[in-house]
Symmetry: C2
Subunit: 248 residues, 2 copies
DNA sequence: CGGGAAATTAACCTGTTGGATAAATACTGG
DNA sequence: CCAGTATTTATCCAACAGGTTAATTTCCCG
């Protein structure tokens, strides 16, 4: 079933052998494929909507393998969630804001958050699913709780530097600012489906995405620096404006 | 089963009658109770996680009644979703921003959005559920698509007035601004469960909520007016700051 | 007051789903 | 090369969940 190509290859190589090998062992690979399939499944259908059989099928595995390598449905879900947090934390650590001008650092931060969410839509869906469950699984995960994001401290440093240098007018609370930046990016992308229907236009197309990023950067920087960017003044599509907008 | 109290009353009143009435007819009431129970169920468990039997039980109804009065599970869900949009649109229309100073109007708008989400947590959950479904149901609902929110036009007017009066420095795109305001409120509340675990503190307690509202108002107004509010400068809990924060 | 429509109940049916059992097959160390 | 263990497959199952059928009860109107 799995890795047929390799099996076929072996079939040729070992044509004289008594019998063709039906499958190969690959515990680590199997585990990875299971977790990847599970991530997609949970992100697409949520926890309750996810189907164990579908995960197995998409992993190219027998259903029994899920229970053998990871555990039951909830174990699987938690493993996926932990993996998702691990991944973003890892990428966050790669972001170096120390050597940048404070305004540039904030822009970089927004840019990273935005693009990470764009590149990893499953992460958004998983967080929503976990919040529907009132973080029931996260609470039990010492693993995730110990994965501190470097962003809040990064922001604290940047804001302090910005105030000292005169770039920023105010020492905003780094936790609030981080939540706000995440919020601006997260909501737009996570709710793009309903928002697109309500507004009657595709909020995920290139131009819309660019416009959104510019707006977010301009909004936050204007608040911090007191100076308004050119982008912040520019309305959506100058001249060509849809007759009626309907939010939320 | 339903309205036992009234049945008991009748049992006393009509003691001489041949037999006690087992139940009363109440189509409208029944429909409302079904939709209310369905709303809670879908908000708590999502579409896939919702249980038709539980909805019936919580509505004090026989399961057959759901199908008789509304339809199957998906019909039920769509009815709930449409009801949710109807409700928020109705309250939105009650908000009069025309006679307020532009900055005051924006503050009022944020305040309303924040408190509406606080008072109606099911609305947040329903939107998330619908977005998980890629707005599949919303797309088929001409009802919702015709329910235009008055907010974008309100914002457009307020922003124009603000720029003319000199209160605002820039003519921000009303659609972007509306999404941003919704985002700041929505994300914080919708993700409060995971965020609370990650940050190790209750983001829904009174002080945290007040602090958040102040931050959002300050952020948006600072960006629009160019003047910073006192609130915006004040860090979270002066002096008493948790050692490590971890965003997202 | 009685007959018929509307509303409600009780019981049932069938496909699905998470999970379990046990047998088969591949690999590894001796 | 063989024995024992790790990995994988095939099959089964009991509980559940959405939905349906048919009988029962209430109410309204002529």
């Amino acid at each position: 079933m799995l890795q047929l190509a390799r099996c076929d290859q072996q079939a040729i190589d070992l044509a004289k052998a008594k019998r063709v090998q039906k499958w190969q062992r690959d515990p680590e690979g199997m585990r990875l494929r299971i977790l990847e399939a599970a991530k997609q499944e949970f992100a697409t259908h949520g926890l309750a909507g996810a189907r164990v059989d579908r995960i197995a099928a998409n992993a190219g595995a027998n259903k029994r393998m899920l229970y053998y390598h990871v555990g039951n449905k909830e174990d699987l879900y938690l493993a996926v969630l932990e993996g998702a947090y691990e991944k973003i934390r890892s990428e966050e650590r790669g972001l170096d804001l120390e050597h940048l001008d404070p305004p540039e650092a904030i822009e970089r931060l927004i840019d990273f958050t935005w693009n990470y969410f764009l590149r990893n839509p499953e992460f958004l869906a998983l967080l929503n699913t976990e919040n529907l469950a009132k973080a029931r699984h996260l609470k039990r995960s010492t693993k995730v709780k110990s994965m501190h994001s470097p962003f809040v401290e990064m922001i604290r440093t940047v804001v302090t530097r910005g105030v000292e240098s005169g770039d920023f007018r105010v020492a905003v609370d780094p936790v609030q600012l981080y939540i706000s930046i995440a919020a601006l990016c997260f909501f737009y992308l996570s709710n793009s489906a309903t928002l697109s229907v309500i507004f009657g236009r595709d909020l995920l197309k290139k131009e819309a995405r660019d416009e959104r990023l510019a707006h977010m950067v301009a909004l936050v920087l204007a608040a911090l620096t007191g100076k308004s960017t050119a982008d912040f003044a520019k309305p959506a599509t100058p001249g060509v404006r849809p007759p009626a907008h309907q939010p939320v």
